[in-house]
């Protein structure tokens, strides 16, 4: 393995900008790494060798011309639910298996404009519905720390690619934990900005009011660089927020002095077993050791998170996924009439979990049930926002587990509910639209597998959140103590 692939995005940008190394050199090294390991790991559904080389040449020319590019030469994994013009964009679904996107998502375009190099389109749970990547209809992605285990999901391909040095930055999307949980499983930083901070234009929708694009990286600094490049209003997305973005990369800090960090009373970790309980208690002590004041905060609605989420997200997805009807693009299975064509196309094109959520959502929105389910869930959602607002009166950030266990083995979660429970700690932040991230915080189990600490901040306080995570990462360096198996 060429050591170039292990460099952080920040280092690559420094070296490429100073012309100590070319974007081409970085790209060739990473493409070689992909060719070496990805047949075993399956991070990418589509590899973009030609596209990557073209972009590398373009970046080298711009750097030679004196341009300062904030992501010059940074190898990028793009989750395959984001459009990149001219590339296959599948959402890991048979229904879009051969669809070529004719346009580029705003977030992806901003990364490319900043000098990032698209290495490939990474695997995910079909339409981002899942927590293990096992719901991908198009391929298996393995956890680089233990190939018998899942990488997490739904952004498992990007998380694994970054962990296995097949990219320095991976783009993910987080609806209920889909960046943070795979980040934790793969020992990388997974960062979900405030809802509306990064444009969703070109992100294939799962649940519109929750979906948010964010980066997976090996360092907090890299997450900040990616965020700075992507965040900000987009006229193509009316839910993107028109409000100045405080640069995060320049707000990184080395201690937590003066910060009050809330520990959620209801997120009792004892139920996760003694080892994991001890691990999180130690993580909280590490925060305190850096100067933070730990305070207990209440989140009385915590236990209603899953129920709320699994009404709102399926309701929105049942409508968002209606367009995959075989009429204009993607899979079509002919039938005797248009109705039969719809049925056969969707029966063949969608996997079991996608169908399950479409059914739940259709039911929740049906006449006679709408008020009891959807409206009630929306009301519960506002209670989450209120509870967090109240909690943040007592603290600056909240610390919590990112997942309730380390990565599990394939096929070990046989019922959907136990899979849904993986997102128990991440869903409340999603419902409230908060910025949150997971940062490596140690290892648990046999073999020892990575775990993630989740930090969350009030709306729009990404700079503070990343600043604190940076201090934690720098002081503890947990990620560096692990070794990938490839």
């Amino acid at each position: 393995m060429n050591d170039i692939v292990k460099r952080s995005a920040a280092d690559i940008v420094r070296d490429v900008s100073a012309k100590r190394i070319s974007a081409r050199d970085v790209t060739e090294a990473v493409l070689a790494r992909v060719d070496e390991v990805d047949d075993r790991l399956g991070c990418y559904l589509t590899r973009l060798h030609d596209r990557a080389r073209q972009q590398a040449q373009h970046v080298d020319e711009r750097v030679a011309a004196g341009e300062r590019l904030p992501l010059a030469g940074v190898p990028l994994a793009v989750k395959d639910n984001m459009c990149l013009a001219g590339t296959r964009t599948t959402a890991a679904s048979k229904i879009l298996e051969n669809w070529i996107a004719p346009y580029t998502a705003t977030a992806v375009q901003r990364m490319l404009d900043a000098g990032a190099i698209p290495i490939g389109k990474s695997n995910l749970d079909e339409f981002a519905m899942g927590s293990s990547c096992e719901n991908s209809a198009l391929g298996v992605t393995r956890n680089p720390y233990d190939l018998k285990r899942v990488p997490g999901g739904s952004s498992g391909g990007s998380a694994a690619a970054v962990a296995a040095f097949e990219a320095a930055i991976g783009l993910g999307s987080d609806t209920g934990g889909s960046i943070r949980e795979p980040g934790a499983f793969c020992n990388v930083v997974g960062f979900k900005p405030t809802y509306g901070r990064v444009s969703r234009y070109g992100l294939i929708a799962f649940a519109s009011s929750l979906d948010q694009i964010g980066p997976l990286t090996r360092t907090v600094e890299d997450a900040a660089l990616a965020y700075d490049a992507m965040a900000g209003h987009d006229p193509m997305d009316s839910t993107s927020i028109d409000r100045p973005v405080e640069p995060a990369a320049s707000s990184l800090r080395d201690d937590l002095k003066g910060l009050r960090i809330g520990i959620v009373k209801e997120f009792e970790t004892a139920k996760l077993g003694p080892e994991i309980d001890a691990l999180y208690k130690r993580a909280y002590e590490e925060l305190a050791g850096l100067g933070a004041e730990l305070v207990e905060v209440a989140l009385p609605t915590a236990d209603y998170g899953l129920a709320t989420y699994y009404l709102i997200a399926p309701a929105e997805c049942s409508s968002n996924l209606a367009r995959f009807d075989g009429v204009r693009y993607g899979l079509r299975v002919d039938g005797a009439d248009v109705g039969q064509m719809y049925e056969q196309t969707r029966a063949a094109g969608f996997g079991a979990e996608v169908k399950r959520r479409i059914l739940i959502g259709t039911y929740a929105l049906s006449s006679g049930y709408y008020d009891a389910y959807y409206v009630k869930a929306q009301k519960a959602r506002t209670m989450f926002a209120q509870d967090f607002r109240k909690a943040f009166e007592r603290c600056d950030l909240i610390a919590a587990p990112a997942a309730s266990s380390p990565a599990f083995e394939f096929d070990s979660k046989s019922d959907p509910y136990s899979m849904y429970m993986m997102d128990y700690y991440t869903i409340p932040m999603s419902l409230a639209g908060l910025p949150a991230l997971s940062v490596p915080c140690g290892y648990a189990g046999t073999p020892a597998l990575p775990m993630g600490l989740q930090l969350a901040a009030p709306l729009f306080e990404e700079a503070k959140l990343l600043g604190a995570a940076h201090a934690y990462e720098r002081a503890t360096a947990h990620a560096a103590k692990g070794t990938v198996a490839v």
């Binding site: 346009y103 234009y201 649940a207 839910t239």
Partner: protein, 486 residues
Amino acid sequence: MTVKTQYEAVIGIECHVELKTRSKMFCACANEFGGEPNTKVCPVCLALPGSLPVANAEAIRHMIRAGLAFGASIPAFSKFDRKNYFYPDMPKDYQISQYDMPLTLGGTVRYWLEDGTLKECKLTRIHLEEDTGKSMHGGGGDGRIAGSSFSLIDFNRAGVPLMECVSEPDLRSAQEAVGYLESLKRTFVQLGVSDVKMEEGSLRCDANVSIRPAGSSELGTKTEIKNMNSFRSVLRAIESEIERQTAIMESGGRIVQETRGWDEGQGETHSMRSKEEAHDYRYFPDPDLVPIEIGAALIEELRKTIPVLPPQRFAKYREYGMDAKQATQLVDNSALADYYDASVAAGANAQASMNFVLGDLSRLANETGIAASESVVTPAALAELVTLVEGKTINSKIAKELLERMWAGEGSPKAIVEKEGLTQTSDTGEIEKLIDDILAANEKAATDYKAGKTNILGFLTGAVMKASRGKANPALVNELLRKKLE
């Protein structure tokens, strides 16, 4: 002998009107009729994966103006909802519409019947939504879906802004329904919010029709009539449906609540689907669009742009003494009506000005192909001419000649009259002298008159007028002649 029950019809109209905007409702594609199929499309209006709608501000302004024109209330808060159902020419398989919080509520449409009777119909609401594409069925079936072997879809119209106006069931006859629709059409054209071309499908309407014993205040079972493609078909379809329902009631039958299609060729309605087959549209707020907040300042700004509207004009013209046909004719030529109103504002007698505007001025416009409003004759100059006639300074014959000279660019009528001494003479002595001369030259005429051939009077009057070079007051000439002859 049994007394036959008299029935009255109760009719409400729902009509869809395409708004005239530069771009479509939720994307930047041109909003234009026609064109090669699928040339006015983009990722958004084709509902490609990942695309997002952004609401068109111009369409929202049109809606507010339409609402203000009918005296509707404009709520401070409005939102878009998704109406979910599968249809091949509806790209997202949901329509973005407005469910429970439309842009305008209430209001009254004033309209008139052919005989000039002024009527009112209350509006329930006007809401904003998007149009669908158009399907064309080929391979047999004569353009109908049944029997065709394939269908083609043109999405140029998909996403065109559409306002849906829903009336209260205030209409009592097919004639009233047409009067209401004509008034809507006139108002929208006057406001410039739509071209309202039924032949291009930019106005489409459905009618809810029921009957009840005259004098009853209860509503009967209604049917919804669709497929009416012109005002004439609205008239025929509603008349036919009232007849059908009346026949059922008179034979002791029961009306079934259903949707019925108008068959123009057969001149009757046919059952399309019953209420039991009605869709559950699973409306819910569109999470891709932010709520619309409308401030008082915007409403006031838009209120100032509302011109005098056709029903107000019609009522005023009727007060001026125009017959219903004349008034309608003038209202429907808004440039001429503006011209006419300006002449009245400049001091012209309303009725006298009307005679010129609908008479000689319209004739000149037709002959020369120049609209009155585009001609050199200003409304003020016309007012000057009208005032000269009304003040008996000139007679109508001179006035007619003067108007032609004004049209040819000879300038102010007053100046011409003064320069050429065209002032009407009512000097009795002068006129008697002319009469004496004429009678002397026409002795036989005088004899004939005395013998009872009184129609010779017209000839004699003309001769005197000619001798006066048109300046004599014709009424006075007539009176003095009669005296001399008797």
